[in-house]
Symmetry: C2
Subunit: 439 residues, 2 copies
Amino acid sequence: MKRHLISEIVDCVGQQVELRGWVLRRRDHGKIIFCDLRDRSGVVQVVVVPDFSDAYESAQEVRSEYAVSIVGRVKARPGGASNEGLSTGSVEVEADSLRVLSRTAGDLPIDISKEDLDVQLPTLLDHRYLSLRHKKVNSIFAVYSELIASYADAMREAGFREIKTPKLLSNATEGGANFFKVKYFDRWAYLAQSPQFYKQAGVGAFERVFEIGPVFRAEPHFTSRHVNEYVSLDAEMGFIDSYEDLMDQLEDVLGFVVSRVSERCSGALLDHGSEISVPERFVRMKLTEALEILRKEFGKKLDDVDIDPEGERLICEYVKREYGSDFVFLTHYPAKIRPMYAMPSDDPQYTNSFDLLYRGVEIATGGQRIHEYAALVENIKRHGLNPEDYADYLEMFKYAMPPHGGWGMGSERVCQKFLGLASIKEAIMFPRDVKRLTP
Amino acid sequence: MKRHLISEIVDCVGQQVELRGWVLRRRDHGKIIFCDLRDRSGVVQVVVVPDFSDAYESAQEVRSEYAVSIVGRVKARPGGASNEGLSTGSVEVEADSLRVLSRTAGDLPIDISKEDLDVQLPTLLDHRYLSLRHKKVNSIFAVYSELIASYADAMREAGFREIKTPKLLSNATEGGANFFKVKYFDRWAYLAQSPQFYKQAGVGAFERVFEIGPVFRAEPHFTSRHVNEYVSLDAEMGFIDSYEDLMDQLEDVLGFVVSRVSERCSGALLDHGSEISVPERFVRMKLTEALEILRKEFGKKLDDVDIDPEGERLICEYVKREYGSDFVFLTHYPAKIRPMYAMPSDDPQYTNSFDLLYRGVEIATGGQRIHEYAALVENIKRHGLNPEDYADYLEMFKYAMPPHGGWGMGSERVCQKFLGLASIKEAIMFPRDVKRLTP
């Protein structure tokens, strides 16, 4: 007998089926035992009566979260007894046999059969093997999986080639500090903070590239927005006319992602009481305008250079109120707070760069890159850095790099904001922070 | 004017188009200058005549690999002048204007306009920014991109959820040696050798999971089959009946991958003179049978425990000759050469495990895992290891793990073998080995 998924059996009334999964809860009514069985497709009520003595005996031994195989007949539940809260609520399975595949050892530290887990973040993560089984937690990773798949599909559709670039680097010179050091045979290597240099090399070869891969940041942050290892959704695009092309492309990609996640994960979004939508074009404003709004509208004093997390939250609030949009591009970041490869604007104090804010936080950062060898050497010096330290990187610019740019987007932050999660760590199966390297 | 891709213009005879790309070669015939222009979609001949004086002037300055934008009219080439070797060979573009977007600096170290690059591997990799532009090298990464995309599509189609697991681990206890050590704030962490433990956790939560991600091996190998960082195609599958289910599933996945790569990368395969196909079912033989064949058919003396690289090559030769298949599963590896989590066979000297060989090398390794807590503790001890070192891992087995197993497959090895490349390093954009951490 072929195993059926629970989601398939509403169409199998009268048939004998085999189901496999975990016992979500078990209620012993003496003459009759009810088990709610959960598999990857859903939950269904299983009824065990003493007439089927083997099944009944096994069912008495069963506890929450045991893994079992059940053979039984699918029955329609009488109108009054049907469960509206369950997609399989119109049927139940009367077990002929129940086989325990695997047992739990000891008591369960958290009760995952409740509608809300209702535990603090450290508990949620300490008992990750179990908390991942909870319906709402599971939903997060259904959304996450669809998010990265739809990102890849959107990029391919737009002619971007998927690449994989090395995470082990010889130098910690990518344009930031806070690298993790790795003992690499008889020397030191560094973990990539981003695929920046390699995706630019990808442009030189293939014009348009994207990568989905881990990045590592040795930043001692303790916030709800930061982790030390995350998965970045990167892209880099050659032969652009201006850096506006990059924002246009990112809008298209997010439009596709949002519509796919809405369509394929409607249940998961519902679990979290979340709705997502995307305007055709996102609001774009200069960083200086945003700072002006913060001063005028919110009386916020800023140093005129950069925006802070509270400022990002307030600007999103403002844009939502004024334009009805969850998304806003802030553009023209000052050269002194952007890396040495950022393309200067017409006013060279600024750069052709942007951050994309969504529901109060920055989810992507990007911009045009300098593509001419001599200009890049100059800009490296202007940043007080030594071009010799960038010899490997500079090499690619000897072979006519086209005008180009791209972005990096934090996949887990997007997922967090799609679902309104309090912490980014809820959107990562096994998050890594300064204190946490386990499980 | 919207940019056209070169592949689109055969249908644009008589139209004015803008093309962007790199000059593959330039031939100056005095009265007329020919440029072969390359973009991500193909190559086309551009003709520049003195009538269009601006274009003609720019074309005189142009050198190989300059990035340019060309506006011109698409013309049909007269029958005799058409180039059969080029998919755009029936047309050419007469340039009205030619704009240099970016220049090369100095001489090019390798000539990428030749049909064969004809350089040694170190040269190929030292000049990676340039060698990636060569048609045959580019083809490798077209295949690679399709390989990982089709793997993901096949897994999703079979109900596997895509997950991303941490690459930073607190312990080096995954069941192998040769971990890279990372300075992690005030302590040490280790780079993941495989997502093994975490994908098993994924089974506990989601039943079926897959991951495409980097793995790191601190092995001091110097072979054509090894690198120290590669991208593993992992999968793990719960509620299996037996470990044969895993091989069935892997066959289906590879069947899908091979057909998609054949279909969508036919040109790239042709560039490498390669054809790929897949039998419906792969030959499966016990490792002991394989060792027996090696003795009988090839007079090879072996220690009766494991097969070596030469043995793998010879067995593939034998299976190709006897069964016409490029694929063969070797099964039932001895417990002493498999990790502590490998499920013992009926004869507990052996395990329910397999390696998949393809065209002479192992491309995947997998098997069933022990899913019961007590049995796993016992097996850890039997391997001379301390269960306390595996406390985090063992935790998941307290919550009823279902019977399960999975595989890890080396993406670059598959790509290498699809195309018949001499070294795996040719199938990696920026490979990492004991000596090489650059570019």
